[in-house]
């Protein structure tokens, strides 16, 4: 459910003539012998809601801090709006950041916190008052302007931090795990709010998160990082449906992976012999691999259907197994099925009926299938 790309129907990253707003060229950052960020190239366009997604220690925060100017790249260049940022200190960058800890100044009131950035620019008193009020209205905490940070709840602090980062109308807003400290309900609510604010103000947002759902919900594009390097960049649906590596397939959503060897490549399909599945797998599309190559086929759990009568549709891939585990999640249930080969396959089914009436239970033998178009070929 990507709601974030609303302001960007034209998808500038698909247009080769579009000028990127941020250019990250071959950027690396070493801490001692450790490469936190390793040769990253990225283009980010004006008005994007761009998510850097990865596990902790993948380098996403370091990359963000280099954009803010808190870290200097060991190699490579960063351009924001065409300007090389190498010699520009944080306080002169057209960038504001929302910190993971919020970093609210504890000795200042909410109003003073939000006004701080404008004061540094020498904005007049009347204008500061006006813009602070406007911003506090936008994030709906105007009533709290006189309070100190330690008198606020977590959600309120998060809003102050956001207002403080937005009030200077920066060209670029950086958000470091902005929702990490909120509980789940509040987080989901705030995700939509953030996107609405971003669209309303038309700023470029770069967000760092380890939560793939959060990234998918908000971002126009997601950049999956691993061990300091970019694994894949693309719109949420693209990254989910067409992961380009096992890492991305596993990191975003759940993946069933079947190892095998390519036995046949034609213009419209590829055939893989997979001992894991105990048979052949057919994948739509072809040409990407050579015959004899060792590959891995990825299928998402929700793409797998159960055949109650045991006979698959023609042209579908299918196999049989025994239900070993069922996880009931309310709206859906997740089934773990063990194949003859010992391999376990996961699939989900919507709980259309009350569970008491569920047709599938432990130790049932089931046959399942998926359409060739739903298998993704990953080269090992």
């Amino acid at each position: 459910m990507a709601v974030g790309s609303g302001g960007l129907q034209d998808k500038p990253w698909t247009d080769p003539k579009a000028q990127p707003f941020i250019r990250i060229e071959g950027v690396s950052k070493h801490f001692g012998d450790v490469a936190a960020v390793n040769g990253v190239d990225l283009n980010i366009y004006r008005g994007e809601f761009f998510a850097l997604l990865g596990a902790s220690g993948c380098g996403k925060t370091t990359l963000l801090r280099m954009l803010a100017g808190f870290e200097t790249p060991s190699a490579g260049k960063i351009f924001i709006d065409g300007v090389d940022m190498a010699d520009i200190p944080p306080y002169r960058r057209p960038v504001n950041m929302m910190f993971q800890s919020y970093a609210l100044f504890p000795h200042m009131t909410v109003g003073q916190n939000v006004a701080f950035g404008l004061q540094q620019d020498g904005v007049g008193k009347a204008e500061i008052a006006e813009r602070v009020a406007e911003m506090l209205d936008l994030v709906q905490i105007r009533a709290l302007a006189k309070r100190k940070p330690d008198q606020l709840s977590g959600g309120q602090r998060q809003r102050v931090a956001l207002a403080r980062a937005l009030v200077k109308r920066p060209k670029l807003v950086l958000l470091d795990e902005p929702l990490g400290a909120l509980d789940r309900k509040l987080r989901e609510q705030t995700q939509f709010e953030l996107v609405n604010i971003q669209e309303k103000l038309g700023m470029t947002f770069v967000i760092v998160t380890h939560d793939q759902e959060e990234a998918m919900t908000m971002a126009s594009r997601v950049c999956v990082m691993n061990a300091g390097m970019v694994e894949q960049v693309g719109a949420p649906a693209e990254v989910y449906e067409y992961p380009n590596s096992r890492f991305v397939a596993d990191f975003i959503g759940t993946a069933n992976l079947f190892d095998g060897v390519v036995t046949e490549v034609s213009s419209d399909q590829t055939r893989v012999a997979s001992p894991d599945l105990g048979g052949d797998i057919v994948i739509g599309g072809g040409g990407a691999v050579a015959k004899g190559a060792t590959v891995r086929v990825m299928v998402r759990p929700e793409k797998i259907q159960v055949m109650p009568d045991g006979s698959p549709d023609p042209g579908f891939n299918s196999a049989e197994g025994i239900v070993r585990e069922i996880a009931y999640l309310g709206d859906v249930s997740v089934y773990h099925v063990e194949l003859m080969s010992g391999k376990r396959v996961q699939f989900t089914r919507a709980n259309l009926l009350h569970t008491a009436d569920a047709p599938l239970t432990w130790d049932d033998r089931v046959r399942f299938q998926w359409h060739p178009a739903n298998g993704i070929l990953l080269v090992i």
Partner: protein, 312 residues
């Protein structure tokens, strides 16, 4: 290898980082001060301990001298250290200081731990007052507290008066000017330095750890031995170093409370310097004391830099 041009540009880049010039000054001022007024003086002590004593001002031979052919001559002598080993006075004072400091530290650990434990376990409304009563002596003049100890320990002092009034003794016990007085003085003076770190360690402890230990079947004393005690060890170590190290070099306490029977090295150094005016021997005594304290001081440094760095 980096080329000089490259490392130069690295330096320039460093200096261009936000606030680099400010950082450099902020570091250079205390660094320079401590190098000049802490490190250099210690080196001078080492140097003078190796030079010969002469009559005059200053009363020592320079080690470096420019001879007529403009060559530097180095006069080094270990005779001062030889004297320390030969003369029984120094060896006895040295060993005596270590013994007194070590025993005082041990007794302080026992008293200090019990008090810190008592404070940490006491009800919240009491704890504040009890802690303040530890802090007040900590801020009160050291000299005045030693002076108070004289009035406490002497033949017609408080202790003897109370004991005689109670009929426990009929003759005053001589405590003043004995090694016992020195022990009491050191423990009395340094006890707050023992209580506070141990208390801090105990207070930081998560109380649910003890509940967990109890839940897993540990009796209270076992839980104390297996959980509380190990977790408060950093406090015990810090407190012990804070008592032991200054106690070794203590001058005022043995001077005012102790007699001739228990010489301590700090007192010997003072006498060499002020009475005998033998600066090289006084320096040699200082170097010997430093050699003894180098390990505990480095332990303390290690400990402090980890402990005081805080959780950033």
């Amino acid at each position: 290898m980096r080329s000089p041009a490259k490392s130069f540009s690295a330096v320039v880049r460093r200096l261009n980082q936000p606030g680099a010039a400010g950082r450099l000054t902020a570091l250079a001022i205390p660094y320079g001060w401590l190098a000049l007024f802490f490190l250099l003086p210690l080196l001078i002590v080492v140097k003078i301990s190796l030079s010969e004593s002469v009559m005059g001002i200053p009363p020592y031979e320079p080690i470096l001298r420019f001879a007529e052919d403009a060559k530097v001559q180095i006069h080094l002598t270990f005779s001062n250290f030889g004297l320390l080993l030969r003369d029984n006075l120094y060896v006895v004072a040295y060993l005596n200081s270590v013994k007194i400091a070590a025993i005082s530290t041990l007794i302080s650990v026992v008293i200090g731990y019990s008090m810190a434990y008592g404070i940490a376990r006491s009800p919240l409304r009491w704890r504040y007052l009890l802690l303040m009563l530890i802090i007040i002596p900590f801020w009160t003049s050291f000299l005045i507290r030693i002076y108070a100890m004289i009035g406490f320990l002497k033949d017609n002092g408080l202790i003897n008066n109370v004991l005689m009034a109670l009929g426990v003794i009929d003759q005053p016990i001589a405590i003043m000017y004995t090694p016992t007085a020195v022990y009491i003085g050191i423990i009395y003076s340094y006890l707050p330095f023992m209580v506070l770190p141990i208390y801090a360690a105990l207070e930081r402890m998560d109380p649910s750890l003890l509940e967990a230990a109890g839940d897993l079947g540990a009796k209270p004393w076992k839980a104390f031995l297996r959980v509380t005690l190990p977790l408060s060890m950093p406090g015990v170590v810090a407190g012990s170093l804070l008592v032991f190290i200054p106690a070794v070099g203590e001058f005022v306490i043995p001077e005012l409370l102790g007699g001739l029977g228990s010489p301590m090295i700090g007192k010997v150094l003072w006498a060499e310097f002020f009475s005998n005016r033998d600066w090289p021997v006084a320096s040699a005594v200082a170097v010997a004391m430093l050699a003894l304290l180098v390990v505990p001081v480095m332990m303390f440094d290690r400990f402090a830099s980890r402990y005081f760095r805080g959780r950033s």
